[in-house]
Symmetry: C2
Subunit: 321 residues, 2 copies
């Protein structure tokens, strides 16, 4: 039987502070119990083969013989190739990915995939890194994939729980806070892609044009994120929801909401949510909401949008075989 | 023929800064060419009789013989009674009001009515006050009607043009800026009442609860209002529209938008507006938008909401007969 390892990793929801976190604000994210599973199998052939339930065409690359062809899975293959070099792994790999995380949804599906692959690969080569080392590896993996990456997605995927992101001495630092598993949110998908890169650069353009205004909005998001952490830690869902509503308004103000996201947000509120906001880069992707009864809210929302209740995942990336 | 006077007064749209103006921000409002006409006729009977196209039941009050009955026009009658005392006018008045300004629309219909009545009454008693004295009178009139009143509505109704509101040494001061008549907006009515008092107190409650957050939002509105004035004065409609979008997001953040207002705002944007926002206290009332071609936009919007294009009214309240 060929040597293999298998790992799972959760995904992310942004409770407060997305976008503003790129301008000095803290952010609070939640590791979401919607996961990616990756199985990495060692083969003698010097290939990287990736099979994904999302991209049925897959990818197969003889990495030291040929230039790979254009393929949506190629960035993953490059990330993996770098990881193989780093650990002086000279054989081949078959990677099988199955993920419940919607792509381009603002749920950091890519970080979840990167974390599951990295954890499985490291286990395969006999490493069992402590969490923050794995986090660095996943962050590097993501950077290799995207050019620029947020630390929040990798932190949710690797650390689990609630993730606090803040700036210290010019560095973005992530840490896990809270360790109760009684937080659930409702996630509702717009079906529109959330194109992080495009939105981040759009906000940056606006920031440079009307810095006075944008700075103050970022400061407001910063203040509400601090309040939001307090409310979430106390499980004061009413206040936490109100702050989500405010955060959504501020995200609208910086220009990253749209008609569909606003409609979902209002539908959630009408159906009794304490509050709702877009989660992640916006422009599409998912809306999250807080509710006394997330299962019921998700069921009611499902008439209009693919929706589900999701618990915080206290576990981060984990090798399962 | 009985002695009478007739006056007209424009209404208001808030371009930037509503709500925040109550927390120290400046505001920019526009006197809108949608007007109220009031005819005040002297009669020997010591009565106040008000006829209004909006309240067909009217009001008739023998002011020194009886307590008046409950009536939606009663606050107007009280305001008028005070004005009569101030000018030692001891006869009776028949007031006929016809207004194109929608009630509870955030367009300051009440200030427009107060201004038209005051201007007509003053003309009747032989006074021709200069603008800022008339403004004080209308402001007092409004205060008598509402208890608390904004200076913005009276300023739009009396001064005309674009009205800049700012705080100096703890006083809210209004002044007219700009004097070109080439600014038009589109106004679209939600059909929901905008209940200023309720919304102002809701915002104030939220302000007291999470002052840190709300203060920063108010500061952001303050900054964008300054930018907005600059853009409007340059007739840079693209920038002015973008700032309206931001202002709308910030108004959403403080909690005064709703599903219908957001829907109108998005519809305007989809139909090509440079930007759109709720105007006034929110919770209902009107949405305003900037467009290259307001007539066409208004026509397209009319399929969904009562909408019209409206020019800035360079004239304030004016006696016409």
């Amino acid at each position: 039987m060929p040597k293999f390892s298998e790992a799972i990793a959760p995904s992310q929801a942004f409770l407060y502070g997305e976008h503003a976190v790129l301008y000095g604000s803290p952010a609070l994210a939640m590791s979401v119990d919607v996961k990616t599973r990756a199985r990495v199998t060692e083969v003698e052939d010097r290939i990287i083969e990736i099979r994904s339930d999302r991209f049925p065409e897959g990818l197969r690359w003889r990495y030291d013989e040929e230039q790979p062809e254009e393929n949506p899975l190629l960035p993953l293959a490059y990330g993996l190739r770098d990881l193989m070099k780093r650990y002086e792994f000279n054989k081949g790999l078959i990677v099988e990915i199955s993920s419940d995380v919607p792509v381009n949804s603002g749920m950091a599906s890519s970080a979840s995939v990167s974390a599951a692959i990295s954890a499985a690969f490291l286990s395969l080569v006999g490493e069992s890194p402590e969490k923050y080392l794995l986090l660095d590896i996943v962050y590097e993996f993501e950077r290799r994939i995207h050019g620029r990456a947020s630390k929040t997605g990798p932190a949710c995927a690797v650390l689990g729980g609630l993730v606090w992101v803040e700036w210290r001495d010019g560095n973005m630092e992530v840490s896990r806070i809270d360790s109760k598993d009684d937080l659930s949110i409702v996630i509702s998908c717009s079906g529109l892609p959330s194109e992080t890169k495009k939105l981040v650069s759009m906000v940056s353009k606006r920031y440079n044009e009307i810095r006075d205004v944008m700075d103050r909005i970022m400061h407001a998001i910063s203040a509400l994120t601090v309040e939001g952490r307090r409310a979430i830690e106390k499980r004061d869902l009413v206040r936490a929801g109100e702050l989500m509503n405010i955060n959504h308004g501020l995200l609208s103000a910086i220009g990253v909401s749209n008609y569909v996201l606003d409609e979902i947000v209002w539908t959630m509120r009408r159906l009794g949510a304490y509050g709702a906001k877009l989660s992640g880069a916006g422009g599409g992707g998912c809306v999250i909401g807080l509710s006394e009864n997330p299962e019921v809210l998700a069921k009611n929302l499902s008439a209009s949008y693919p929706s589900f209740a999701a618990k915080v995942s206290l576990e981060g990336a984990r090798v399962i075989r």
